[in-house]
Symmetry: C2
Subunit: 220 residues, 2 copies
DNA sequence: TGATACATACAAACGTGTATGTATGTAAAT
DNA sequence: ATTTACATACATACACGTTTGTATGTATCA
């Protein structure tokens, strides 16, 4: 077979990207070959090289699509006038956790971000970009925490940098470990419980009294 | 040059392993070639193939050494008679965090464990083994939590599985994010503060009152 | 008829594994 | 104490499979 109509060509291009995404998530970017992608898409490498210069260009196109949901998510709660910043933060993290475990597209995004370490050569820029988004998320969390402090919803002496780092690390770890599959935890159902516990940590975990917790009996 | 004395041969073997470990941590296992290792060790691939069958065998030898510190760490607090399990858990996690940021050997271990996803082919067994150690750590945490509940140091209605999952995820995330380098947090100095906050979360984060935290003002 | 949308064929690079060469240590024979 | 014989500890060279990139062929759309 040979030349198709424009729509059919677009279809094969989309097939290539979809197949690539799937394989990237399964085996990682480095270990999926162009033949893998082409075969999975039902074409040959010829088709691939017609639509893309190389694997890096395809991944850039992929990432340009995939980052949209993340960008949207990031924009949700960036309002310094928000009267209930802590509640908004709660909703944001719950939403994030639930999306990751239920929405396959988001699963793919986060799988790629978790394995962003194997981005070499021309893909390093994208890896740096992921790193940047990662950092922006933390900065955003910090701003929300500061806003919450201003509004008396978090203690004034909360170490903001540290707290944001811990929050962010915990979310990352939860997602990564859920992906690793060593969990019998139903994260979709428990997301609220998880985030509530995190917020309690923010509100009561950093005072002077916190240091004595391990030694004393519970007060209930 | 050719045949050396036995001691010199052992030296080159050690050089190969040390060079390999360094490269593995830098570029990942998959992306370091046998030439990389040999060159970094100041020899050729001939020397490599004399001492090791292939990259997998070298990594197995490496891991056999590196897992020792982890095994020791795991054995520390496995005592059901421990009267202060929560305090022991606190010490364990603080120790873990501080070791990771200060001890280069432990850094290498955890770098390898974090990137255990790129273990393919013959190395999958080791990847599975790492996964297993990972799971055992969580099981151990669960047992400590149960012991702490028995001794009235944690609330009886604590969801043990979930709490252990969260603890574990947070530690993983902290280490991974600290490695990622996007942190101005001095984790060695703050380790105590971090773990104290985590324990507050365990003690007070899972009750019915926790769900209302985001909406109410702080009580201080 | 010419540009398009591929498939096919080919060349080059890279990494692995193995076969071979070789100088040296080492133990036994003399 | 030498010499001899062999195992050792590598370096070098080659054969192979795999992946990439490109060049070419070709049917079809427009």
């Amino acid at each position: 077979m040979a030349r198709r109509t424009k729509e059919e060509a677009l279809e094969t291009r989309n097939s290539l990207m979809a197949a690539a995404l799937e394989q990237f998530c399964e085996k990682g970017i480095a270990r999926t070959t162009l033949s893998d992608i082409a075969t999975a898409a039902g074409v040959t490498r010829g088709a691939f090289y017609w639509h893309f210069k190389n694997k890096a260009e395809l991944f850039e196109a992929l990432w340009a699509q995939l980052r949209n949901p993340l960008d949207e998510l990031a924009d949700i709660s960036e309002n310094p006038q928000e009267p209930q910043p802590l509640e908004k933060l709660r909703e944001l993290i719950v939403l994030l956790l639930q999306m990751v475990v239920s929405n396959p597209v988001h699963q793919q995004i986060f799988r790629l971000m978790i394995n962003r370490n194997d981005l070499d050569g021309e893909l390093q820029e994208i890896g740096a970009h992921m790193q940047l988004m990662h950092g922006q998320f933390r900065a955003r969390t910090e701003r929300i925490l500061i806003n919450a402090i201003k509004r008396g919803q978090l203690p004034a002496d909360l170490p903001v940098e540290l707290a944001a780092f811990m929050l962010h690390s915990m979310v990352d770890g939860l997602i990564a470990n859920w992906f690793a599959g060593d969990t019998r935890v139903d994260m979709k159902a428990q997301a609220s419980v998880i985030v509530d516990a995190m917020l309690v940590m923010l509100r009561q975990g950093f005072g002077d009294s916190a240091a004595l917790v391990a030694e004393s009996p519970i007060v209930s």
